[in-house]
Subunit: 210 residues, 4 copies
């Protein structure tokens, strides 16, 4: 496959965006339902949550805006549409369900935005873009799950909304590794930079963005 | 990989959406610049264009609304953002460039919508969703390129906008086959049905929608 | 003023849109906080709520999709932006506040959509447009308050989203009558038809849209 | 009417947003068709254009991002929807028409964004919000016409997108003065600050935002 992929280089993909002056962090769908393989979990999701704990600490220490997302459907199913028709098990993610609760190690604190969403992207018909613009954010670090689902959709929309987008590679996880890696490739070529938490920490260093 | 992917079945993905009562067709970015491997082309894109000719004929014969997209940036680069920073060669796709012209075999006719876009998705900050709603469309067939780029982004947004979404599998193409197949997998699991042109023709038959 | 306004007629405004084949009803912000002049109420809002009861009965009898909106900000103020900076009293409308509860006479029933919003428009960064598209709605009746605020913003966006938009003139209210009337004028010229509940009932009659 | 409007003060409207750190200017629909009362012009629009010349000079001198909008429909009418059904004369505003050309005194220069739009708001399904976010703009000055139409719609969306919004009161115009004044009132109460060009110049002074 590596030979085949040389075409991306020849056609001018994958330039580095870099970290701007004002980063924020969005943590996508790290809720209880995605920790358990009996529901939506599996693969490397548990490891990604563990790794996100330290990225969240960094963000809080730096004072970066932090947003969390949860998938929440109405109890009566009144807001079910195509996505929850394609994947009907999503309908279990109602407000009162334990499955839609953010995992304890990443519990939001006051001032952090908690977004209820019904679609894959954290931006689609949510307040996220305006919330970031209000804070003059120019760079969005993305953690969460799944890499091939809600993370990918969020990253494409973050790019489209003109935020420099950086996928924290060890803070995103998926129920299966093939799609995880395929989507990291796509995102790194077209929409975002790929950096590990260690690389992010080294980059922002002591002189990095506040 | 097939063992690994059993988890999707166990977790309830990939239900069939089916074709609704009012289909439309969107053809994503089949412009000159994507026919030539020296620019953005390669892989199975030429074959996908060829196959789309017959899908477009079907749509026109049935009277389905048809929309085409082109990537077009301003001549002075005033509208360049993150996407065209990540992939700077996109900036060559200006209004006057031959590269941004729709391929001759798929030339739009009067009444078909031609969308200028700057982002991957045919829906992002374009008139497409409202144009489909105005026609009471409930089902969107998607052709175009690339499968791992603008087609994928369009399909995710089509689902989010609540159109039953059907990827015409032999009418979408990519510069490299690995990402093409990986993205067909993701779309078929989460956002869309996958059907060949032959399957679409058989399904709409003589008693199908309009 | 009537002489001055002749220019609208000469320039071709105010054509009739008419009721289409598939109506829905949206009721904007008829919550407790807008019934009390000590908070956001006053003017003709109480009368508009009273009149909306019969419009809601009609919608339910016909099986039209019904959506309700509430303004809801986060308890910790994390989602306050420009709108709630311009009008800081909006911040009192939190989930747990009685002020943000829909008035008893218009209590939603199962299957009706209840939209939490932070901005004036019922469409802005909410699921409303997609929810209507999913139901193939082509016509949106609008009730609610205030005429010069959230109703006007909702009507402009309904038009932009390509729904035939009809303001139920006696089902919209405002804290002051001058702005109420000025905004009915603007909406009737540019974005929507104006009909009383009696006119709506007469139009849909026994042979009207289901 | 002034007595009636006291209720706005009592309920906590019309707080001052103020000018932030990074302003931009949007000029809405100052095109040839809005200069002529035989098409969409009249009232105080000519005076507003004249006044906008000096505001544009200020913006350019300060290096503020500048965006212009034009209403442009497709030659074949393929993108006509509800708005151009309510106001059919809008359909004359096609790409090749002199009517859709920006007035000579406000001709865009390289680097300024020129937005084609089909709806009232300069933000609705256009690239404007992302273009401003990419430049980390926090304050949007609004000029253009008509006050009761595209300016109002743009201001409501600017507020919803979380830009501090300032209507340049002598740079917005309308075909009739009643709606002009009614809409200035609404915008000043709920969505934006109102400042004359002289006040803007005095505020940014020599120590104002770059």
């Amino acid at each position: 496959m590596s030979d085949e992929l040389d075409i991306y280089k020849r056609q001018g993909f994958a330039h580095v965006l870099g970290i701007g002056a004002a980063p924020a962090l969005v943590i996508v769908d790290f809720v209880q339902g995605f920790t358990d393989p009996a529901h939506f979990g599996g693969g490397n999701i548990a490891a990604a949550i563990e790794c996100t704990v330290s990225l969240l600490e960094l963000a809080r220490a730096r004072g970066w805006p932090v947003a969390h997302t949860r998938v929440v459907y109405a109890d009566d199913g009144s807001d079910v549409g195509v996505f929850a028709s394609k994947v009907p098990s999503l309908r279990t993610l109602v407000e009162s369900s334990e499955l839609s609760r953010i995992v304890p190690s990443l519990t939001p604190i006051a001032g952090e935005l908690v977004i209820r969403k019904r679609q894959a992207s954290a931006f689609f018909h949510t307040e996220l873009a305006g919330w970031l613009a209000f804070r003059r954010v120019d760079t969005l670090f993305v953690a969460g799950c799944t890499t091939s689902g809600c993370v990918r959709a969020t990253v494409v929309d973050s790019c489209a909304n003109n935020f420099r987008t950086i996928v924290a590679t060890d803070c995103v996880g998926d129920r299966a590794i093939g799609p995880h890696e395929a989507n990291l490739f796509d995102m790194g070529q077209k929409y975002a930079d790929l950096m590990s938490v260690a690389e992010i920490k080294a980059s922002v260093g002591d002189n990095g963005p506040v």
